[in-house]
């Protein structure tokens, strides 16, 4: 596991059809679309800043192993960092 913490930047957002989410940081010129489990992870980052904490929350909702969930969370976080939605803190 890791001690790295993550923080959402200032953003605006809208729900889209089929569980998708459109998120745009205030400093970006274009929005990013989140789909699949990404909107759920995005919401969890509002109150939980570490991978461990997000994984623990998701474990309560899904039957996958923590390792499998962590892989998905890290992948989603990397995408969010690349889209400037999230920064390491």
């Amino acid at each position: 596991m890791t001690d790295t913490h993550y923080r959402r930047v200032r953003f605006v957002e809208r729900e889209l059809a089929h569980g998708r989410r459109l998120v745009q940081p205030l400093t970006s010129v274009a929005p990013t679309q989140l789909s699949g489990s990404a909107p759920m992870i995005w919401d969890l980052l509002d109150e939980h800043s570490s991978v461990d904490a997000v994984v623990a929350m998701l474990q309560q909702r899904f039957s996958d192993s923590p390792e499998v969930i962590a892989v998905g969370v890290r992948s989603a976080l990397q995408s969010m960092i690349q889209s400037a939605l999230v920064v390491e803190s």
């Binding site: 953003f11 809208r14 729900e15 889209l16 059809a17 459109l22 745009q24 205030l26 929005p31």
Partner: protein
């Protein structure tokens, strides 16, 4: 007169009255999608499609969702600008109220995704107008039209339209131009305040009752054919927590009976919406013919005709002490580019 086909009006009324199924025939797909965009109802339609209120074929559903995705992307761009503008004004201690789309999406709409908007609308005191224009100019914003004469915008203007990074920003002093604008007391709108939190910023906005008043003015005087989303705003606001006594006092004080009467009639006729009785009463409120006639120029689709008719009515409504200054600014704008300034006067009324 109706402002849109029955199918689209039914979609505009979703959630406002008795629920019923809305069928979109495949042959109407393209026209309905077009009207939904024109009336900014894609969000309401998507909700209705997903909960089964709208019955349509797969192609319609896919096109609608895609159209809504695009509209939401545009809306976010505008919303970020609203936050930037409000941040700027808060940093400079400029009292202001964020109006219409940005505020209503986060308060009145069933979900922000149901309420799109295309520009930023902010109310400021007339005495602050020049300073706000200067602040935005420093950020890189440009005015759509030059000021007719120094001090005109803050003293007589309805609003100043600027553009920054491709987004239109309307700095309002009043809800409307013309005599009904002259009769407003815009200071009333700064007495109470609500707040919507967007992008980490607490945006100051009107309280619910003043939002309803503004929505009525916009629907009644904004254009001959109001967008259905604006009629829906009135219906949603009317169904919420508003102060009918203060609303009535303001309408009296602002001489706005003809305005509210037209707004309520439009909402009832177009949406077949159920409004509270205190608002429905305005449908039959007596209004002198002379005041009813004052609405006519607001509905002109010809900007030149609109200006030509509104200017004399404005002049008559102004206090005697202001008439010379107004007439001088409108009749003899400052600067040598007379043609451009005359065009600006006409554009100003659009």
């Amino acid at each position: 007169m109706t402002v849109a086909p029955a199918t689209v009006r039914s979609i505009a009324a979703v959630g406002l009255g008795v629920p019923s199924t809305i069928v979109v025939e495949p042959i109407d797909n393209r026209s309905v999608l077009h009207e939904l965009r024109a009336h900014r109802l894609e969000g309401v339609a998507v909700s209705a499609l997903l909960d089964g209120t709208i019955e349509a074929d797969e192609r319609f559903g896919e096109s609608l969702v895609q159209q809504h995705d695009e509209t939401m992307a545009q809306t976010l761009r505008v919303e970020i600008m609203a936050v930037r503008v409000s941040d700027l004004l808060l940093d400079n201690d400029v009292p202001h109220r964020v109006l219409k789309g940005t505020a209503l999406a986060h308060t009145v709409a069933r979900s922000p995704s149901e309420r799109s908007f295309r520009d930023v609308d902010v109310l400021v005191h007339g005495s602050e107008m020049d300073r706000v224009v200067a602040l935005l100019t420093n950020l890189g914003a440009t005015r759509n039209q030059p000021q007719l004469r120094p001090g005109f915008d803050g003293r007589f203007g309805k609003s100043v339209t600027m553009k920054l990074d491709g987004v239109e920003i309307d700095l309002h002093r009043l809800f409307c131009a013309g005599p009904f604008g002259v009769w407003m007391h815009p200071g009333d709108l700064f007495l109470l305040r609500d707040t919507v939190h967007v992008g980490g910023t607490p945006l100051p906005t009107l309280d619910w009752t003043d939002h309803l008043l503004h929505a009525c003015y916009h629907v009644a005087l904004g254009s001959a054919v109001p967008a259905l989303v604006n009629l829906r705003d009135v219906a949603l606001l009317a169904g919420g927590d508003w102060d009918s006594e203060r609303f009535g006092q303001t309408v009296d004080r602002w001489r706005g009976h003809a305005v509210v009467r037209r707004a309520v009639r439009l909402v009832v006729d177009e949406l077949d919406a159920e409004l509270p009785e205190t608002l429905m009463e305005y449908r039959h409120v007596p209004v002198a013919q002379a005041e009813r006639d004052l609405i006519i120029p607001y509905l002109s689709t010809d900007a030149r005709g609109r200006f030509a008719e509104l200017a004399p009515a404005t002049l008559r409504a102004l206090p005697i002490g202001d008439r010379v200054a107004f007439a001088r600014a409108v009749g003899l704008p400052e600067g040598s580019d007379v043609r451009g300034r005359l065009r600006a006067i006409v554009d100003r009324t659009r």
